[in-house]
Amino acid sequence: MIEVVFAALVWIAGWWINSRFANSPAAKTQAVKLAVPLIFGVTVLIVWELLVRGLEVSMVILPAPSLIAARFATSIPILWQDFSQTFIKGALSGYIMGCVAALLMAVAVDRSDFLRRGLLPVGNFVAALPIVGTAPILVMWFGFDWQSKAAVVVVMVFFPMLVNTVAGLRETSAMQRDLMQTYAASYWQSFFKLRLPAALPFIFNGLKISTTLALVGAIVAEFFGSPTVGMGFRISTSVGQLALDMVWAEILVAALAGSAFYGVIALVEKTLTFWHPSQRG
């Protein structure tokens, strides 16, 4: 039980350190920006470890972080195989195809008012199809390997991306549009010089949402049929074997990969939309 008390203390201490950091003048530096979430994360991990030990939670329900770390370290080859199957082959290829397709579609939709009125509501409808229903169908259509996972990802990222891009392309102020009108700019001129730059913050919003959807989509799709490799395969198989440490090791991989993916997109966003008020701080 003493661990539980420790856990509470660690939590308070972590929060205190972070508030010191966040409110210090150094808060704007890159190091602190990185340190604060890390400290938070480490605090959570320590509290987790202490609670699991203190409350004697069964390892088949929630393994302690130390066990997960050990499993992670000893399973790196398997984790890597699973990662490349699910993330590189499935999620990434689907993400790229889905986002590119959505961008092209958004331009078409933006050009034609008719398409916008007709396609967007239908698109919203399709976007609401739950993945647990579409995944089995797509596995049936595209086979067990990564192709069906990529297809699931395409379906998942397409509409968030489309909706965001379309909204972004209309996100110009009346005066900015009027200016283009006075130049009698052609459609593509006002597209590249006004609408696209103005839409970038929205496009990146879509790209960021899609990063998390892509990975989760690829993993979930593997629950409905897969070769004997992949993060989703490993997770479901390991749950059945009560190898919860392996499950969490895969979850850790998913979290690391997903956050890194998100981070990369966010970084690109920062360099391309530095002018936007939300990025100027």
Partner: protein, 308 residues
């Protein structure tokens, strides 16, 4: 009345008819039990549920139960209503498969989620690698929960149960002589299915063992009733299916097939079956399910008391 929560291994279907019959016919009530049956499904590991305290007793396959035991979750078999295994591999005949040796270099659909162990043992017994196609290797697919991979010819063979998936293939319009089946029983790699398992620590609690005795007694009464009244049993299962997905035809047929598997059991675990299962599992190839002979994984205490 004493509360008992029973976790099933799969969705509500005639595979679990005995329990539903016992519930519906009031056999549990007669034993002063208040039983709640929790249906399972593809995303439910019964072992995990019982570990978390979500159930008192669970229907589980022995390989998974023994694997859990090695993982540190001490499950104990208290009763074994299913005498024989219903698992088999179903293949297209036109692929040229006629005996187990023909399986090499094929694509096979296999259930995972803790149900892959008998298959792995079989393959290792056949000397076939599961790492990919080759002279002595097969490509293994993690089969979803339906028979589409076979129907769509994405796999040459898939795992089926004698009482369920096999008939789904037939219902899809395939005639039995288009198919070749390999029953695990016939291949000598059968493992025990659908036993009742509880946590070992609970067995030292007398109130609990008493409860389990009554539970097993009533459940076996239910099973025997179901065996002799298959159609009524199937109706009872249908009444209890909240998803509304099961059909009468399918459940009646399943009940009659399940009856064949429960036929030889009075509920008590046959130690010979147990030992055969353990032996099969210990030869599980490169990644054996269990690495050493389990101790204390079963008890006759409950059945002895219940069935006297």
């Amino acid at each position: 009345a004493d509360d008992v929560k029973l976790q099933l291994k799969w969705v509500t279907q005639a595979q679990f008819a005995g329990y539903y019959v016992a519930l519906d016919k009031g056999f549990y009530e007669e034993e002063d039990l208040n039983v709640t049956i929790l249906p399972g499904g593809p995303d439910i590991a019964p072992t995990q549920v019982i570990a978390g305290g979500g159930a008192d007793v669970t229907v589980e396959w022995m390989p998974a139960a023994l694997a859990a035991r090695e993982k540190g979750l001490p499950l104990v078999n208290i009763a074994q209503p299913f005498k024989s295994s219903g698992m088999m591999l179903t293949c297209w005949k036109d692929t040229g498969i006629s005996e187990p040796a023909d399986l090499a270099n094929r694509t096979l659909g296999v259930w995972f989620f803790g149900n892959e162990f008998p298959f792995m043992s079989w393959m290792s017994k056949l000397g076939i690698s599961t790492e990919g196609k080759g002279e002595m290797g097969v490509e293994v697919l993690k089969q979803g929960f339906n028979v589409d991979p076979l129907l769509q010819r994405q796999a040459d063979c898939i795992s089926t149960m004698t009482y369920n998936e096999y008939w789904q293939v037939i219902d899809a319009g395939v005639s039995p002589d288009e198919l070749v089946t390999f029953k695990y029983e016939d291949q000598g790699v059968a493992t025990l299915e659908d036993g009742l398992y509880v946590l070992e620590e609970n067995l030292s609690d007398e109130a609990f063992t008493d409860k389990m005795e009554r539970f097993v007694r009533a459940s076996m009464k239910g099973w025997k009733y179901a065996e002799s009244n298959p159609d009524e049993a199937a109706e009872i299962v249908l009444d209890n299916d909240a998803s509304g997905a099961q059909t009468e035809m399918h459940q009646k047929r399943m009940m009659s097939e399940v009856a064949k598997l429960t036929a030889g059991s009075n509920g008590a675990l046959d130690v010979a079956d147990y030992e055969r299962t353990v032996e099969t599992l210990l030869t599980g190839g490169s990644a054996p399910v269990i690495t050493k002979t389990p101790e204390g994984a079963w008890t006759h205490a409950i059945t002895d008391a219940a069935l006297k």
